[in-house]
């Protein structure tokens, strides 16, 4: 039996940052990430401010951060603004950002891609589907970035 991966801080060398305000949603996402082959080191930010602070707060992007899973509906600074800030930062812009949201609205999809999102996943109700989507996407970007 495996538990969800421990939530790490920036200093602990997280590879994936999950930005999700709902603790249980985060737990489900972590459960999905746990199944990424070879394991993955995940950090969680509870709102937009925390996310930006995590990524850019130390004078530059966290070393080793290879993927950001970003919810759109977030307290304080919403997902679009986080995305916009990340993609405006010369160094952080290379970190792939995948939007993980409940919104199917065309405008949201379009706006996300215009702001530089690297992927857009509508959270399905079905957990296996959701799990599979998160797992595949993360694996794709991680493989790409780890340079196997």
């Amino acid at each position: 039996m495996t538990s969800p991966p421990a939530v790490l801080t920036a200093e602990q060398g997280a590879e994936v940052l999950l930005v999700e305000d709902d603790a249980q949603e985060a737990e489900l996402a972590l459960d999905a990430l746990r199944r990424v082959r070879g394991g993955v080191r995940v950090a969680v930010a509870r709102d937009g401010e925390e996310a930006l602070d995590f990524v850019l707060g130390r004078g530059g992007p966290v070393a080793g951060l290879r993927l950001i899973l970003l919810d759109l509906k977030l307290p304080k600074i919403d997902g679009f603004d986080v995305l916009s800030a990340l993609k405006s930062d010369a160094a952080a812009r290379v970190i792939p950002v995948v939007i993980l949201t409940a919104s199917k609205i065309d405008q949201d999809v379009l706006r996300s891609y215009r702001l530089g999102a690297n992927g857009y996943v509508v959270k399905p109700v079905d957990f296996e589907e959701f799990s599979e989507a998160v797992r595949r996407l993360s694996a794709f970007w991680l493989v790409l970035n780890r340079g196997v």
Binding site: L28, D31, F130
Partner: protein, 491 residues
């Protein structure tokens, strides 16, 4: 212009007679010349003349025979023109009781002038009858702007007696606000050289109230007059004004109502959308944590516990489907429609492929008839076909010889009818009203799965295309779903 006018010329001086006869004949008139009133009387009893020219200074001019001549002329409506060196017409009109059309012409005038007068007398005579019959107002207005001749119909319109109007200046009748424009039109008439112009202006009645007149007038340079046929269009004008006022008011109201409806509609759509969204989040948790629980306790769970978790997750899946459908339904209202010519044959073919893929392994006899093109949103119409066809496949599942047919109805002038027919379970027409409602189902979900949104969605799409959709069926006898769309090419 040929004046084919018979003129009776009465003059006792033969040289005058000949000179005038020659002059008038040269102008194209047919002249019958006599030297005395009795001769004239005899002729006028036998023949028709358009005009009688009478020397005013003949012997016996004040006698009973002249009076008789005048009476005859009056009875026949033949104008008499008295020729004199000075105008003495008044004496005759007052004297022998001449009340018919009397003109007075100086003999010293050139025959051409006389000719014009004769022609005018004739025209006046013939037209005079129309003049008095006309429902419209007829008028002759001098180049000096004064009213020369008017039909009686002016009286009720303007509230002035005809006599009062004669000699009045046209300008004084016209509404001050319209005066400049109307006078400009009158001046244009002379530039138009006889061509008729049309305009409208308001005039003032005696009581100061206002009427709107439609003018059609032409200048007649030789007589230095304008001829005008004038119609009172006040009622029509008022009606138009009030109609356009009402139309504007109606349009304003329609716009306001449309805005209200649009706002209400948008609110409703937004509500449905956010509800659908927000319902998904807890559902995702129920399903997700049930799955995790099932996995964590995989070894510890007995069969019944596993079944219970399966039921929970089945419920989640069902509700997820309902929410997705609701979302699709509400999105449809917000979606902009593309409008183009749609090849319905191609559409039906590709939809059929998709449905066959979905229903793989089933042997269904499918027929697709030739379908006329439609005008509308191809993606939306595709959805209609997909829903109808999926239903047809679904409800024939219990048949041994399932058959589905796609076809077009009889051609109508302004719409095309398409249908999807099956030999499946059918339904009781008593429940037909429920068919197209959201989440309405006529069959138990154990029997035939589905959320009950498909037909509602189809109806919404067809309605957005300005069409209609209906169904005919009987239990066990299959069903035919038809929809009609406005004809292609009639944008």
């Amino acid at each position: 212009m040929s004046h084919d006018v018979r003129v009776l010329l009465v003059d006792d001086h033969s040289e005058n007679l000949r000179a005038l006869e020659a002059g008038l004949a040269a102008s194209g008139h047919r002249v019958v010349a006599v030297a005395s009133v009795p001769e004239a009387l005899k002729l006028i009893g036998e023949q028709d003349f358009a005009v009688v020219l009478l020397d005013a200074r003949m012997p016996g001019m004040d006698g009973p025979q002249t009076a008789e001549l005048a009476r005859l002329c009056q009875a026949r409506g033949t104008p008499i023109v008295f020729m004199t060196d000075e105008c003495k017409a008044r004496a005759f009109t007052d004297g022998p009781g001449v009340r018919c059309s009397v003109e007075c012409v100086s003999k010293s005038h050139a025959p051409q002038m006389l000719s014009a007068k004769v022609a005018h007398a004739h025209v006046s005579d013939q037209c005079g009858r129309f003049f008095s019959l006309s429902l419209d107002m007829m008028g002759v207005i001098g180049f000096d702007g004064r009213l020369r001749e008017l039909s009686d119909s002016w009286e009720p319109t303007l509230g002035f007696k005809r006599k009062e109007l004669l000699g009045m200046r046209l300008e004084d009748l016209i509404h001050p606000d319209d005066r400049a424009a109307a006078l400009a039109r009158v001046l244009e008439l002379r530039a138009a050289a006889g061509a008729a112009l049309t305009w409208e202006n308001r005039v003032l009645r005696r009581d100061g109230s206002c009427r709107r007149l439609l003018w059609r007038a032409a200048a007649f340079e030789r007589d230095e007059v304008y001829y005008a046929a004038v119609r009172d269009v006040t009622e029509r004008w008022r009606m138009e004004e009030s109609l356009s006022g009402r139309a504007a008011e109606l349009e304003r109201r329609v716009n306001a109502r449309t805005a209200e409806l649009t706002a209400a509609n948008q609110e409703l759509e937004a509500f449905a959308y956010s509800v659908s969204h927000d319902l998904r989040a807890p559902l995702r948790k129920i399903d997700g944590f049930s799955a995790i629980l099932e996995r964590r306790c995989a070894g510890a769970l007995d069969e019944e516990s596993r079944r219970l978790i399966t039921v929970i997750r089945g419920g989640c899946a069902k509700m997820g489907a309902l929410i997705d459908d609701l979302l699709a339904f509400s999105r449809l209202g917000r979606k902009d429609m593309m409008n183009g010519d749609v090849d319905m044959n191609e559409l039906a073919r590709t939809v059929l492929e998709d449905v066959l893929k979905q229903e793989a392994g089933r042997a269904v006899e499918v027929r697709v008839g030739p379908l006329p093109n439609a005008r509308g949103d191809a993606a939306m119409l595709r959805q209609v076909f997909f829903n109808l066809l999926s239903n047809a496949f679904k409800f024939t599942r219990l048949r041994k010889d399932p058959a589905v047919e796609i076809g077009a109805g009889a051609a109508a002038e302004n719409e095309c009818v398409y249908y999807v027919k099956d030999n499946g379970a059918g339904f009781d027409m008593r429940h037909a009203g429920k068919l197209f409602g959201v989440f309405q189902r006529l069959h138990a979900s154990e029997e035939f799965e589905g959320t009950g949104i498909g037909l509602a969605l189809a109806q919404r799409i067809v309605k957005r295309h300005g069409g209609r959709i209906w169904a005919m069926s009987a239990p066990g006898a299959g069903a035919t779903f038809s929809f009609a769309l406005p004809r292609a090419g009639k944008a």
